[in-house]
């Protein structure tokens, strides 16, 4: 069983670092790939632009997607990726500060596999992030194997 990377789409360096710190204790076998804006995330997932020749091994096992992103927003990334038949099975977990109901509804409507709020309190953040990582990389059975 190959372990695709965990793709973290996050423009905030602080948040990226906190996510990495939160995932550390899990000792995931997956590589972590970070992209800083929505446009890059779409290109990466749909194999376009700089990632046109990306290998199958680089297809993420899990995408952790922020909503407030430069260029394309998290919602737009979701909509494009989930509209693509090849990329659609990749699990995307929205990890965001927003608890606005409209965001939540739009994300699920666009095909998000999960919507998780980033808690402010560090301990709680640690707990949530590791739970997400654990669930989507180890527990969840991926549809149709590696793409």
């Amino acid at each position: 069983m190959t372990h695709g990377p965990v793709l973290i789409v996050e423009d905030s360096a602080d948040d990226y670092e906190l996510i990495v710190l939160a995932l550390e204790p899990l000792r995931l076998p997956n590589a972590l790939v970070r992209l800083k804006n929505g446009a890059d995330a779409v290109d990466y997932l749909l194999r376009k632009g700089p990632w046109a020749h990306r290998s199958d091994e680089e297809t993420p096992a899990l995408v952790l997607l922020d909503l407030m992103l430069p260029k394309l927003s998290g919602i737009e990334v979701l909509e494009r990726v989930k509209a693509d038949p090849v990329a659609r099975p990749i699990p995307i977990v929205v990890l965001t500060s927003s608890d606005e109901r409209t965001d939540l509804v739009r994300c699920y409507r666009a095909g998000a596999n999960s919507y998780v709020r980033k808690p402010v309190e560090a301990g709680e953040f640690q707990r949530v992030a590791s739970q997400v990582g654990l669930y989507w990389t180890r527990v969840n059975e991926r549809a149709g194997g590696p793409v």
Partner: protein
Amino acid sequence: MVVPLLVTVAVGVTFVWQVERLLDLMRWVEHTDQVIEVTRRIETRMSRIVREARESLIEGSSQEEFTVRREEVLDASQVLMRLVADNPAQRDRASTLISDVQALLQMASPEAAPRRGAQPSPEEENPSVRGHHHRLGEKMDALAAQFDAFVNVEERLRLERSARAANAARFTTWSALALALLLGGALALQGNRALTVVSRRYERANAAIVAHAEAQRQRDEESRSIVEGVMGHAIVLLSPDGEIRKWNAGAERLKGYRAEEIIGKPFSLFFTPEDQRAGVPERILSAAREHGITASEGWRVRKDGTRFYGQGTVSALRDRTGRAYALVKITRDMTEHRQTEEKILQLNQTLERRVEDRTAELAAVNRELEAFSYSVSHDLRAPLRSVDGFGRLLQERYADQFDAQGQHYLSRIRAAAQRMATLIEDLLRLSRVTRAEMKDEDVDLATIARRVVEDLHRNDPARDVVFEAPSSLPIRGDRRLLEIALENLLSNAWKFTGRLARAHLELGTIGHADGKTEYFVRDDGVGFDMAFASRLFSPFQRLHDAEDFPGTGIGLATVQRVVSRHGGEIRAEAAPGKGATFYFTLGEM
């Protein structure tokens, strides 16, 4: 009219009857005369027959003469019998008389005479002749006496009848006179009465006419003084083709012309040149003539050329044939009204524009607020997460490099970050309550409240809290917002009764002066000083020490927003140490 006619008829009938009776009596008198006359004729004939019969005894007789005389007597006798047929006493007497006459006739007939010589002479008197002669004389005397007696009776009768007739004639004359007088009197009386009635009627009619004329004069006077006195309205009498005939003070005031300078001029003078060219005055006239009345309004011209906004009617006065013989034009100066209207219209337009502007501004502010909330939701939390996250890393991984004081400061930094996060969360909740779209659904406050209290109990099972509420409190409203309101009110009540061994919370309703139901949430906790009640519902206002009763001061502001979004009001009653009660209404949404 009937009475004189009846009297006349009665008088006539009476008079005719009396004359008839008089004539009847006169006939009887005449009848008696006839009887006497016939009787005397018979007597005369008989005495002649007897005389001739006696003479013939001497000189010889003629059979032919005797037969003629006898026939005459018999005819007369028959007449007499007919005449007395109506009177039995006279009839008997007459029949006796006639049978005596017949007997005498028998004796006097030539056959009954005794034979005498061929040469009779007075000297050679035959005794039988002498006896016969003598008997004839006797019989004739007796008969004459009988005739006299009969005639005497008749004469008496005649006398009686004449007297009766004379009486009747007198009576008739007098009664005719009396009846005539009566009739005349009656007619005069009747005539007098009729005359009295007629004259009375005439007097009344006359009085009515006089009164009517006076009333009419008064009405005319009143109308005239009203018309003349009306200052607010111009009242103008026009000929059917629009020539001015009469002019009141109001017209002078409104249009500036004095009566003497305008009477005889066409009323189109009051119209603007544009209206005159467009034929407006003519149209108004013909409409009034045709329909009886027409209303019009528009800018009109005064004598000095200034304009006023006139509003009024032109109505037709019609004669008996329906022809309009004059028109009455009543005009009111509506300039101020018109200007006010225009001003109101302008103000309305301005107001509408302002409302539109404000609405647009409000929408922009709302959008900004939404963007702001969104941004707060996303961006303000991120740094806090960093502060807390890295603070925790310091605490965990570099604990040995901080002394107790350093550790304390780190935990203070983290606590502040978390408190800030809570504030942001509450603020967002408040703004969400303001922005949320309202739903109108059936909601049961009691059920919600019980669930909220159960949740509070679950999170704080050590507390002994008694909660009272009716089995149901159904209302119409937005369920989610009402849940938020009850959560805030009940968690406040829960919080501020925290020091009691056993707390009492209550949800209920009371009647309200406006007929609205007032709901309340009551606790028997620490309460508060009513002096600060006015600040209770503003955001971030806290009446208690944060260490004793932690909170952001946004809960009641949120409740207040929910209540006001439901068209209701909220108030509080409390005293320090005696609990607090929050009353709220929920009006029309």
